[in-house]
């Protein structure tokens, strides 16, 4: 039973624990957040530790339980986490996040052509369709929302339900292979895979880009000022906003984030996401 | 049908068989006697192809190589019976037919045991009731098992019959009747080579072969056997 004695909780709370939803490959996440932890630690003068999480829901729960102090959430998971964690608040997003987009893609063999009118999403009825993770904003929530606006519900897909690939890359791979005839994913992931030459355009075609919506953002616990000193949350926000492409390490961080800069954000920016989440039953 | 010439099988301390020659013709019944450890079981194992002698030669039905098809013509009644636990009596009897069956008969037999009537007849020959057929082997007594093993030999319909002390666990009157059954089987083209633990059951055999320390002591008719011969056997 000696084993089970707590390891100095007071000490542990002096470390700023940052994390992120696992929407990319782990190696990249480790590199990115390792760098960011060093950067924040240098700027703020407190130890910063990156705690990897492999599940969207786990990130929300970890945040609610106070095991994580600052988390890079997706739109939906951020709102879920914030609603479950009194006092927490949005502090920043990327410049690209204010106007984020999803893409609908299809396998060439599905006989679908690119379209520009949202109502053409109806062509997806009866197709095998894949979302990303259940909790993904760009890979599930917003695509499902735009589908619903066009009059397509999940029951309209082949076998009466969509599939959940678990990640954007997996959606792309599964649509490209033909397991699913069509799917929706993060527009940014699509663009960068296209640029890296990892998309076989003979096999997969971009159907439609969604209208913009607010997505990823940083959420901080409400008790950081008590734990790290008055004004800490403000300083934390400022150091994120200060990241600039002119300094080498910061440049790498921003590149890995695929962002030009971080910009301030507030809870209200995500009211829309919350409404969509509620309408689709993902927020109760 | 069986011809052993100068057969030697090495053992840990001394050879289990040394320079042994023996032959068996169709229709012949040969009894194998000797003290325990004299090499009776080894000789039978050479005869059914389990053990290959290091020197000397063995011929079955005139051939030196024992092909798989030929093996089905050799039937062995093992000392340790070698029945399959977990199977019913009828399934065990039918394992004697495996080599003769086509693959679909083998598969079909797994689902529903085939040839109930021949199985019942084989049981009747060893004085067991047909009601035993569906029972699991594990529910039989030692004596019953021994008779099931004999019935399996009957099902195999082999020509060269080898038996290693098949009557050990039976009460004497029954053992005598089954011995008569075995002897009766050995009509041409069949022949019987059988090891015996008792030297007072030799009547009915055509020849008696005595072994001591892996060597042939005598090979003669039961009538020609003298008390001195037997005494030498167990000394």
């Amino acid at each position: 039973m000696l084993l089970l004695a707590p390891v100095a909780p007071a000490l542990a709370s002096q470390v700023l624990r940052i994390s992120a939803i696992p929407d990319q490959n782990p190696e990249r996440l480790n590199r990115l957040y390792g760098l960011l932890a060093k950067e924040l630690s240098d700027q703020l003068g407190v130890p910063v530790k990156y705690k990897p999480v492999v599940d969207y829901g786990a990130a929300v729960t970890g945040f609610r339980r106070g095991d994580l102090d600052l988390v890079w959430f997706g739109g939906l998971t951020g709102v879920q986490a914030r609603l479950q964690t009194p006092g927490s608040k949005v502090i920043a997003q990327r410049d690209v996040d204010a106007k984020f987009r999803s893409v609908f893609i299809a396998n060439q063999s599905a006989g679908l052509k690119p379209f520009s009118a949202q109502n053409d999403l109806q062509q997806l009825k009866g197709k095998r369709f894949a979302f990303g993770s259940e909790s993904s904003t760009s890979g599930r929530l917003m695509p499902q929302y735009f589908l619903a606006q066009a009059g397509v519900t999940p029951k309209d897909f082949a076998s009466g339900r969509p599939g959940f690939s678990g990640s954007h890359d997996a959606t792309l791979a599964l649509v490209q292979s033909g397991a699913y005839q069509a799917g929706a994913l993060n527009g940014q992931v699509w663009d960068s895979r296209l640029k890296e030459g990892k998309v076989d355009t003979n096999k997969v075609v971009l159907l439609w880009r969604t209208p913009p919506y607010a997505d990823y953002h940083w959420i901080a616990q409400g008790n950081l000022d008590q734990r790290f000193g008055a004004g800490f949350t403000g300083k934390l926000q400022q150091s994120l906003l200060n990241l600039s492409p002119s300094q080498p390490r910061q440049k790498t961080i921003l590149e890995l984030f695929a962002a030009g800069r971080f910009i301030p954000a507030k809870d209200a920016d995500y009211a829309n996401i919350e409404a969509v989440g509620r309408s689709l039953g993902k927020i109760r | 049908m069986l011809e052993l010439r100068d057969v030697t099988v090495p053992g840990r301390e001394r050879p289990r068989l040394r320079g042994l020659s023996l032959s068996l013709k169709p229709g012949e019944c040969v009894a194998l006697v000797g003290a325990s450890g004299a090499g009776k079981s080894t000789l039978l194992a050479v005869a059914n192809g389990l053990i290959q002698p290091t020197s000397g030669s063995v011929q079955w039905f005139g051939e030196q190589r024992l092909r798989r098809r030929m093996r089905s013509r050799i039937g062995t009644l093992w000392q340790d019976l070698r029945l399959i636990e977990g199977l019913s009596v009828q399934h065990n009897l039918n394992t004697g037919r495996l080599a003769a069956w086509s693959w679909w008969q083998v598969l079909l037999n797994l689902l529903q045991p085939l040839e109930s009537r021949p199985c019942a007849e084989a049981l009747a020959q060893v004085e067991l009731d047909a009601s035993l057929l569906p029972l699991p082997l594990s529910s039989l007594s030692g004596g019953q098992r021994q008779r099931v093993a004999l019935a399996r030999l009957l099902r195999q319909n082999a020509e060269l019959l080898l038996a290693d002390e098949p009557l050990a666990q039976l009460d004497p009157p029954l053992a005598r009747r089954l011995l008569q059954l075995l002897l009766g089987l050995a009509m041409p083209p069949r022949g019987l080579l059988m090891s015996l633990h008792r030297s007072d059951w030799l009547e009915g055999f055509d020849r008696v072969v005595g072994l001591r320390h892996g060597e042939l002591l005598f090979d003669c008719s039961p009538e020609a056997l003298s008390a001195a011969d037997l005494e030498q056997l167990y000394s």
């Binding site: 390891v7 490959n25 480790n30 999480v53 095998r128 599939g163 678990g166 791979a173 033909g178 | 089905s72």
Partner: protein, 511 residues
Amino acid sequence: MSPAGQLLLPALVLLPLLALLPGAWHGGGFDLIGQFLLAAVQPSTDPALIVASLRGIAVTVAVALWSWLFSLLLGVIGGVLSAEVVSRTLWGCSWPALLLRRLLAIPRSLHELLWGLILLQLLGLHPAVAVLAIALPYGALFARVVAEQLDGLPRRNLEALQLAGAPAPAALLMALSPPLWPQLLSYGGYRLECALRSATLLGVFGLGGIGADLRLALQSLQFHEVWTSLWLLAAVMLALELALARLRQRWQEPNRELLVGFAALLLLLLPSSQWLELRWQVLFSPWQWPEVLPLWDPNGWLQDWPQLIGSTLLLTALAALLAVALLPLLLLLLGPGRWPRLLLSACGLLARLLPPPLTALLLLFVLQPGLLPAVLALGIHNAGILGRLGLEGLDALPPQPAQALRLAGSSPRQVLLVAGFNGIGRSYLSFGAYRADVILRESVVVGLVGAGGLGVVLLESLSSFAWGEVLPVLVVYAVLTLVGEQLADLYRRRLLSGPLPREGCSPLANS
């Protein structure tokens, strides 16, 4: 029907599966499967990745060991207290044992993954949560085995000691513990292998360790990195299996080496739990229920239960039949030689190494989503587990009956079929019945391939934090599992008794 017949009959399940195959085959990701297989010979050797993988393995092994230890502890205590013979000896009545036995059915009825997902929501993401998630159902299962073993032991010695005036606890200890040990140790060793697989699977669902690395690398199609983790996991799993197989042969007579090894293991565990940050204190911090999330929601109970349960059961049945059928069938097709055996062992190791959700993802590269990839993923994984037990069983059979058949002219395949399959038939099938039970609980993990069923609903409600919907699904799962357990028990009992058994000569005695 003979045991071998019962062993081969499940192979009929291949007919509908093969019939489904042409319709579900799309083959579009065949190059991906190729890349995946090619990557096996060139795993990533990036030092940082190897260090991360080693750490992942260490966490998984630590979780497995700790959860195993706790489950043994829980199991022995719970098992002794829920054994009728103990209850009757100590208290003179058997209802306390029977009551406890019923209560222990509850933790047992949920798969460790479900426990993991629930505790994850309640306690956050810590390997310590995974330890608890595995220890609870395993402990309850172990308790059941202990109780059954205890009640199955002959009581003559106990009665003799009691009549001689020995106090009840001492009499119990003296009379019942010696015959109990070997069986418990052998079963307990097997549970450690299970714990390693469970710890890997829980990692896939977010509780840390190598499973997490595997999932993330596979989902982002980093096959070289996947194989770095897989090879490490394979080495650990194989080493564990071989070590346990060796120990099992010696467990009949407990020896000093064993105790020393065990003590060394414990000594290693103590510092490792600190180093790996298992963080036990989370288990004792107050359990927070998120107030905003109501547990009771009448709407949550309104689901299309017949359809959900039906598709879950169909998936379970097909996968279980496939799992049972694969080994006998492949053995018969490939023949009983040494190389086919080696090939089968290697395939089996890979099959049980890869958690089913990841197998399912791989299958989707060539198959359309639906029932088939789900059945294959679960079936293949469990065939890997059953297959090893089957091969071990074949090796342990006495060689004489097979020899007799061979000498009577049967072909090697016939010998395998008649002596081999009939020899292992009953124990293999009774284990298969138990696996069916496990597969039912595992069906939750292949929701991703779109097979439908309860798993999909569960993961969806969990991701919405809709506890009002999670609860009914858990209740249904628990009921299904308990009913399934009863059926598996009935089947096993029927199987073990055989046709028209006679008293006192149950084949169980020699199995």
